[in-house]
Symmetry: C2
Subunit: 717 residues, 2 copies
């Protein structure tokens, strides 16, 4: 049975058994029964309680076994310890879905956690799916179905679905949605997620025709890779907005690379959301501000917006807010200005923001909006409506609404004030026109519409991930690793047990196998060997101490550059041995790496770490030793698409300056993109490489390539 089907009983049950239905109005089992009855659920409803009796005019039956067909879904609100046997009974009765609303599980300690496992075992035995435990249930305003125990009334029917890992947030959102004037389509409280997770419900909720936007409250995800897959599919048809919290809650882990130091858990979440097309909100308010706009407005064809106002101050505020949200102020066409001037007083401003002055009538508001919407250079309009001195805001709303409804461009309203605008608020809400108390919030909503339009435009246009010839790199690398592990199987590795770095020489061969350019080099164990190697490679060369214990070679003076003849190579070898302070026991110098000198060029960093949730995470940015100070880096999930690699370059100064800047010639951007793509495949192919870092990748002028000058690969422990 496919997964999506297995969740069907939750979202369209033909009959529901409330196990723990109660007469006592202070019990949650009473609230749940009440909500089911009052929500006008049209399926069969069975109240179960061994004490019997009747409730809301229906009989209470003693057990689920006694409930007649149809029963698709059980909702359990009895003490935790009694739940496993009742689940057994449900399973035997043929139920394939249950919501455990009761608390008393994992959240209370080890005993509760064991109880939770027991529930799961029973469920698995019967192929039953479980939602919860410790949740407030679920709700569908259109079916309708209110299977929560939250105090009535529930939210009005609407277009926004809310999926939450916190029950308390469900309660607040439920209450808050009504006050904010938007309805919910569905509300899903996931609780402890012993079985059904946030990822499982994405597709079934998105399949609901009444749901136009999905909003998520997340503290984490159960399986990062699956989440990205599912969310990617869903986000292409419906907008998904996530409020992800728990940002500071993650423990610090030991890291050895710049990449590891810079990649917080949030980098992985941000990269995952970006890959999937999930919009990340910073606050709850922002999430629902955006959701309303996405649910109700057509998408703009560009970022060029206009402000229509009856007062200067809020117009300036809105202009600031538009620009700081990355939108631009449209230049009005002459014909637009002409049309405006024919209906506005001469002192009105016909530039953007269009200021109609305080005398603006409802008719002027409507006509001006109509004129602006007809201007091809304008992609959307932000209308500012403070309490007008001579008219009511309600009258203005009534005049605007038909214009907004007939437009194919988004219009959002900054409705400023409180008491004097209440009538207008109600008109706009009823008409599904998003209104916000402040211009800043309205501008942010317009920006999210533009972002969504841009996301949809690139869906499909971006070439898919290819595995292509990377297989070659993968096989070659496996061979290199096999050889290394068999040769290093004896004493050498035991002495260095804290250290899981591959020798530089091995790391270089691996990069080479993946088609990333590394300077020609070899390991010399004596000054003479170094001279021979240098002769083969060609002068000038660099000497670098080769020791798996030395991570930042230049930090300890373990590097000599630009050695241009045999004697300086021979002398350099001796000098480095002497100068390198490797005093700790277990440290060992394996020799010197003799490396071809690469001409000067721009230097960038490319790194990867393995994120426990999302797999390999690639970093790109300004290289060198100041990486962690400058923080000019960006992250994306591996393997990269070409578009994602481009975007890593575009979003960092390191990437932008490859195009040339002042007297810096344009560098070989293509070589960087190519290295980045190949590197991302390496990182994705070998999860055992805990951290991989090229710092620097030196980028030569256009057409001359990019070389990995320093490479570190750390194996997982």
């Amino acid at each position: 049975m496919p997964l999506s089907n297995s969740l069907a009983p939750f979202f369209s049950p033909r009959g529901i058994a409330v196990i723990g239905a109660s007469h006592n109005p202070t019990k949650l089992g009473y609230g749940l029964a009440r909500n089911l009855v009052q929500s006008n659920y049209r399926g069969a409803l069975h109240f179960i309680n061994p004490r019997g009796g009747s409730l809301f005019g229906r009989p209470i039956i003693p057990s689920v076994s006694a409930a007649p067909d149809p029963v698709d879904l059980a909702i359990l609100l009895i003490p935790a310890v009694g739940i496993p046997p009742v689940l057994e009974e449900c399973g035997r009765r043929g139920l394939r879905a249950a919501i455990i609303a009761s608390g008393g599980f994992r959240e209370t300690g080890p005993q509760g956690a064991q109880l939770e496992k027991d529930c799961l075992l029973v469920a698995q035995k019967y192929g039953m799916r479980l939602m919860g435990p410790n949740c407030v249930g679920l709700l569908d305003t259109h079916l309708p179905l209110d299977a929560t125990f939250l105090p009535p009334p529930g939210p009005p029917p609407g277009d926004v679905a809310f999926i939450s890992q916190s029950g308390a947030i469900c309660a607040a959102v439920n209450d808050w949605a009504r006050g904010q004037g938007f309805g919910l389509s569905r509300l899903v409280s996931l609780g402890n997620q012993v079985d059904v997770t946030e990822t499982d419900v994405l597709a079934p909720v998105a399949a609901d025709p009444y749901t136009h936007v999905l909003t998520l409250y997340l503290e984490g995800v159960s399986d990062g890779r699956r989440f990205v897959e599912e969310a990617t599919r869903v986000a292409q048809s419906k907008p998904v907005i996530a409020l992800k919290v728990g940002r500071f809650a993650s423990g610090q882990r030991a890291v050895t690379s710049h990449t590891g130091a810079l990649a917080g858990r949030e980098s992985a979440f941000n990269a995952a959301f970006r890959r999937a097309g999930v919009i990340r909100a910073e606050t709850s308010e922002e999430m629902f501000d955006w959701a309303r706009a996405l649910a109700w407005c057509p998408l703009p064809k560009g970022r060029s917006m206009t402000i229509l106002t009856n007062a200067g101050g809020p117009g300036v505020t809105a202009a600031d807010a538009l620009e700081s949200n990355g939108l631009t102020l449209a230049n009005l066409q002459e014909s637009t200005q002409g049309a405006l001037s024919s209906i506005l007083p001469s002192a009105a401003s016909l530039h953007n923001p269009v200021d109609m002055l305080a005398s603006a009538s409802p008719e002027q508001y409507a006509s001006c909006l109509e004129i602006l919407l007809a201007d091809d250079g304008i992609n959307g309009v932000l209308v500012i409506l403070p309490p007008p001195p001579m008219y009511t805001a309600g009258a203005v709303a009534m005049a605007l609404i038909p214009v907004i409804h007939s437009a194919s461009k988004p219009v959002v309203i900054a409705l400023m004030g409180e008491r004097l605008i209440q009538e207008a608020v109600e008109h706009f809400r009823a008409a599904h026109v998003p209104e916000y108390r402040f211009p800043e919030r309205a501008a942010s909503a317009l920006a999210i519409l533009a972002r969504r339009a841009e996301f949809l435009a690139q869906v499909g246009s971006s070439p898919a991930l290819t595995r292509s010839k990377k297989r070659k790199g993968l096989k070659a690398t496996q061979a290199i690793l096999d050889e290394y592990h068999s040769s290093a199987g004896t004493g050498t590795r035991e002495t260095a047990k804290d250290n899981n770095f591959l020798p530089t020489e091995i790391a270089s061969r691996i990069l080479h196998a993946y088609g990333i350019a590394v300077p020609e080099s070899g390991l010399a164990r004596s000054p003479d060997e170094a001279v021979i190697l240098a002769r083969q490679i060609g002068f000038p060369v660099a000497l670098k101490i080769a020791s798996p214990l030395v991570l930042h070679k230049s930090d300890i003076g373990g590097v000599l550059l630009n050695l241009s003849n045999e004697s300086s190579v021979s002398q350099g070898f001796a000098d480095l041995i002497k100068a390198t302070p490797l005093s700790q026991p277990g440290q060992e110098i394996q020799g010197m790496l003799v490396q071809k000198m690469i001409p000067p060029g721009q230097e960038v960093i490319i790194g990867a770490i393995q994120d426990a949730q999302f797999g390999a995470l690639v970093m790109f940015g300004s290289g060198g030793i100041e990486v962690e100070g400058l923080k000019d880096v960006e992250f994306a999930l591996a393997p990269l698409t070409p578009a994602e690699a481009e975007s890593l370059l575009d979003s960092t100064w390191a990437g932008r300056r490859l195009n040339g800047y002042r007297n810096m010639p344009s560098a070989d951007r293509k070589a960087v993109l190519n290295s980045l793509l190949r590197f991302s495949h390496l990182a994705a192919d070998f999860p055992q490489f805990e951290e991989i870092e090229i710092n620097p990748l030196r980028v030569l002028p256009e057409g001359n390539g990019a070389y990995a000058l320093d490479i570190r690969i750390c194996l997982n422990a």
Copy 2:
């Protein structure tokens, strides 16, 4: 008559004349009269209109001349063109203050602007102060006095004053304050500011004992320096929050330096607000969220905060929000945990966030809060209150309020929901406990309290600006400039009229005069002169082409470094002449600068521009040619206090890495601070230096100083 006195008639008039009072309820002159009467203004009230009659049971008299004493303030609401003669009459009648509420002035075009000037001339003739024109008037809820024409009811009496350059925003805030549950003390609408400005009213408004916080809506300031002076004084006694808009409205100006390119007008405003201790809000909502907290809460002694919640999800959200606002989560003392555990169920979390679980009663909320407030390690508490499943939020509010009132630490409430929390909202508002719908906004309010406490702690502790021995630099520089201008008075300057750069040699002498280290150098006009100079200075030296037209010397290959003997100096001179592509007419090479080579070191940039509003603005940050790409810079007003110089260093990576980083040794931070302070005096002393830039200032290891390697001074045109 001191300024503050001259504004007294606006804020405590013994009698008011309403010129343009009207029977007609659609006229603003009716609204104004109504508001004055309904606000229970206790002074004398005179309605003036040549048509006569009576209004609200009072006679309408034909002219202000006929009004009996006392009359301190006239409020004019008659057509603009009639205002100058009526002002004359007011002047003759002995009035010294008038509010012109009418529009029809500067905002309508040149004719209106002329009318505005005419009004000012009349006012100046009689020593009369004018507020407006084109404003909504002013309001004092405690006097009481409502001299606005805004629709009733006005805002409830409160602790927050609002001063606005936009009338429409006044109307919205007036309406909005009531809905948000805070009152206003005063509201001042400044209109076109023909006379009285935002700066003028700061002190009189702050002097009002009912005003605890000043909030400002600003589109600009009339006189930047005076604003900083006044605001500094006011902010030390009462918090000042500014919403400054018009960020993107400023035109682009031609700039020639990195500093100029990076210093938007907002850098100057930010620097000015920082200097004055004015808190800048990004949105209107933020401004009033903060204002309520600052008006009602005691200030915390530190940044260590605790969250008290009855649910996990909102607790995590709040923890994120606290940390992203720069606050820390306190570690609870053992005794605190002990006390909590004695009243909470065993499954409750006794760590921060303290989660009492959904069953938390009003008594548990109150007792836990009391326990947390008694913990010395806790500086403030964020209480989370979603609609509790078993109790009313109102009952929780009633239990919490006495605990909050007896505390000397701030407590803010995240009251989540809408309908189910209304009773609690009312209790908290009446008790002056700040409540917010979302944990994020509550956390931001706590952070602003911590910031205010830190600001007050450093007031006075920071050494004042000293002029001290800088006089010497000033006089020497004047002499250098006099000499330069007299020598350059002839042909040379005319050929270079687009170019106002001082020759490098002059610029170096000026820096030297201010005590900023510059490498020893001299101007050579021939290879032989260069060799002689190099010998005097000591090898190795650098050669740099000296031409006022070449701004970025290294961009065009006009620099040779590390010349270590006479022949390379001589050869270098010839090479540079040949290699420098100075083909444009008017360009001229004055010769070569021969400069002592300074050893390698960290490189920073120090720059200054003259801001039209605030005077000299100093920039510090990462130097080199990538300045504009890396954008690692910060700004402050010149001259700097030592504390401000420290803060510039602390807020940039360039400054932090001076302390040493990885294998970079710690650099001579003191020398940088010293250079920065002296540089800031130079910039403040010479407003005719439009842009000054040292890039790089090379900083040697500790104790070895910092040298200005490249210097540009641009004179204003």
